[in-house]
């Protein structure tokens, strides 16, 4: 699949934003932080900013952004519509929770429940995003039970790292939260490894033979494409990355997105002050790069069954 930057940015930015929001609620709910105005203000702005920027960027690639509101109508069947509805609805408790925190300085009682609602809706939004991909049978490697957990995992782990970093900036000692973020990161990347193993080894779902129905004659190969320059389908679905490059990029993403953050976070849990801050900032940077590369690969490595008509032998 063509790795469109707007989609990569959307899925990574909003998901980190939602993750951060969820962790903010958890921090507040567990009393790990008190609703100080400055920390709250910055965190809300960043989390909701990431969410909003992501959502906006996702409308940039629409042919008719001015009609984007229509996308809320088909929640009964469309995961994209559900995602849109969830995203919009999430703003309500999130903003109410933010209001309680920032204006009233409270995150307790009903305010906490509103926060929990925001967290649940955030997770639901991220899960909807995952479902958009997981439900596409045409991209067999995506219709895989790991996709939704992965989306949630990346949201929670990168959100956690962001949150820990913000907290550290505001002078909190990361402590156990760094280890929780490390654990989330480790778990997520463990799932990612499983995902990769799956896409590398799963039997093909469809083949050039089943796509054409000519398998009884023998092996099917494309002789002539219908057009000598790339058409829409070839440009949109035909992005293919060589295995060699994919392997290298996987390593880069693992090192930057998993190894570096996990080590940094484990260390950060032992540290305080500037060293801890440095460690979590390093973790954040690593995760940003790692997740962007991972997300790019998520698209670039996915083969669409339509390409069976354009020379792919199986998907």
């Amino acid at each position: 699949m063509h790795p469109a930057y707007s989609v990569i940015f959307f899925t990574t930015a909003s998901s980190t934003g939602y993750g951060a929001l969820i962790w903010l609620v958890i921090l507040a709910g567990t009393g790990a932080t008190t609703p100080t105005f400055a920390f709250g203000a910055v965190t809300f702005v960043i989390a909701l900013g990431l969410i909003t920027a992501g959502l906006l960027s996702s409308t940039f690639h629409l042919g008719h952004p001015e009609r984007a509101w229509r996308a809320l109508s088909q929640w009964r069947s469309s995961w994209l519509s559900r995602e849109g509805v969830a995203a919009v609805v999430t703003y309500v408790p999130a903003l109410v929770f933010a209001a309680g925190w920032l204006l009233l300085g409270t995150v307790e009682g009903i305010w906490l429940w509103v926060g929990i609602l925001a967290a649940i809706l955030s997770a639901a939004t991220v899960a909807c995003t995952g479902m958009i991909y997981a439900s596409l049978r045409a991209i067999p490697r995506w219709s895989n039970p790991l996709v939704v957990p992965l989306y949630l995992g990346f949201s929670l782990s990168s959100g956690a790292i962001l949150m820990v970093t913000l907290a550290a900036i505001f002078g909190m000692t990361p402590g156990i939260w760094a280890w929780i973020a490390a654990a989330a990161t480790a778990l997520t990347w463990a799932m990612k490894k499983a995902y990769w193993r799956h896409i590398d080894t799963a039997a093909p779902t469809a083949t050039a033979e089943s796509a054409t129905g000519l398998g009884e004659i023998g092996k099917v190969r494309l002789l002539e494409s219908p057009n000598s320059s790339a058409n829409y389908i070839m440009r949109e679905m035909g992005y293919g990355i060589a295995r060699k490059h994919a392997a290298r990029l996987r390593t880069i993403s693992m090192v930057t997105g998993a190894l570096v953050p996990i080590v940094a976070l484990v260390l950060a849990g032992f540290l305080g002050g500037m060293p801890a801050l440095a460690a979590v900032v390093l973790a954040l940077l690593g995760t940003a790069i790692g997740v962007l590369v991972e997300r790019w690969l998520f698209f670039a490595e996915a083969q669409h069954s339509a390409m069976l008509y354009y020379g792919a032998s199986d998907v």
Partner: protein
């Protein structure tokens, strides 16, 4: 309503494509483009039409495959357009309801007035049958020529899709695949018409007729071998005697 029709009618309009006689001439593809660029989905924009990498919207495209190895294999021309699936993911993924399946005849369409151009439906279609028009910012696709098949301004015999009416080899057939007695259904029955990628669970309406194995029972292929070349048949009245024998009959 992006959900599939709750009470689909029995009518399933679609195409049956005979791979046994398609010569890969692209007439159906170009005629489709010609009809549709001025029709319901007008225009079918062409980007960079006279430059490098031209990119145009086409509803029908003709591929050519080889199946099997060496000289024993076959070359098969393979036209491909929307299959008007009974369970089309392109419809259910659509967030706006712009993509829909008609109840009356099962035709899958896109409403250009409400499509936001998110392209998700094109990701969902396993067959690569949807075409994005960058200039219009909306998804387009084979309409099964809705502006022809019931068009009272056209003579009755022209009320078939453009691709069907133009096909020089008569490799394309149009009709109601929901009616087991229709000509197309019977053709599918007789010729073992099949679905593309059944594993995708889209239940395509369009069917493909497989290339026939050379009909061994065909009398033309039942020829007894001629006499082997032996010195005897080459003897004077062996191989020339027949001339006299035949003449003196």
């Amino acid at each position: 309503m992006t959900s599939l029709p709750a009470n689909p009618g029995t009518k399933k309009l679609g195409l049956v494509i005979d791979l046994d006689i398609c010569v890969g001439c692209h007439a159906c593809a170009v005629n489709c483009k010609e009809w549709n660029t001025g029709g319901h989905s007008a225009p079918l924009t062409d980007e960079n039409p006279y430059g490098a990498d031209p990119l145009g919207v086409w509803f029908n495209r003709v591929h050519t495959f080889e199946a099997g190895d060496g000289a024993d294999g076959r070359t098969v021309h393979f036209p491909r357009s929307c299959l008007h699936c009974e369970q089309p993911a392109c419809v259910t993924v659509c967030p706006t309801g712009a993509s829909y399946k008609r109840e009356t005849d099962g035709i899958v369409l896109v409403n250009a007035e409400t499509c936001i151009g998110c392209k998700l439906c094109s990701w969902a279609c396993p067959y690569g049958a949807r075409e994005y028009d960058h200039a219009d910012g909306v998804m387009k696709k084979c309409t099964l020529c809705i502006d022809r098949i019931e068009n009272q301004n056209l003579p009755e015999e022209d009320r078939v899709p453009a691709c069907v009416s133009t096909c020089p080899a008569s490799a394309r057939h149009f009709g109601d695949l929901g009616d087991p007695d229709s000509a197309v259904s019977r053709l599918v029955e007789e010729r073992d018409g099949y679905d593309l990628m059944p594993e995708m669970d889209m239940a395509p309406v369009n069917k493909y007729l497989p290339p026939r194995a050379p009909a061994r029972e065909n009398p033309a292929m039942q020829a007894p071998a001629l006499a082997p070349e032996t010195p005897e048949t080459e003897a004077e009245d062996g191989f020339l005697g027949w001339v006299d024998r035949m003449l003196s009959r």
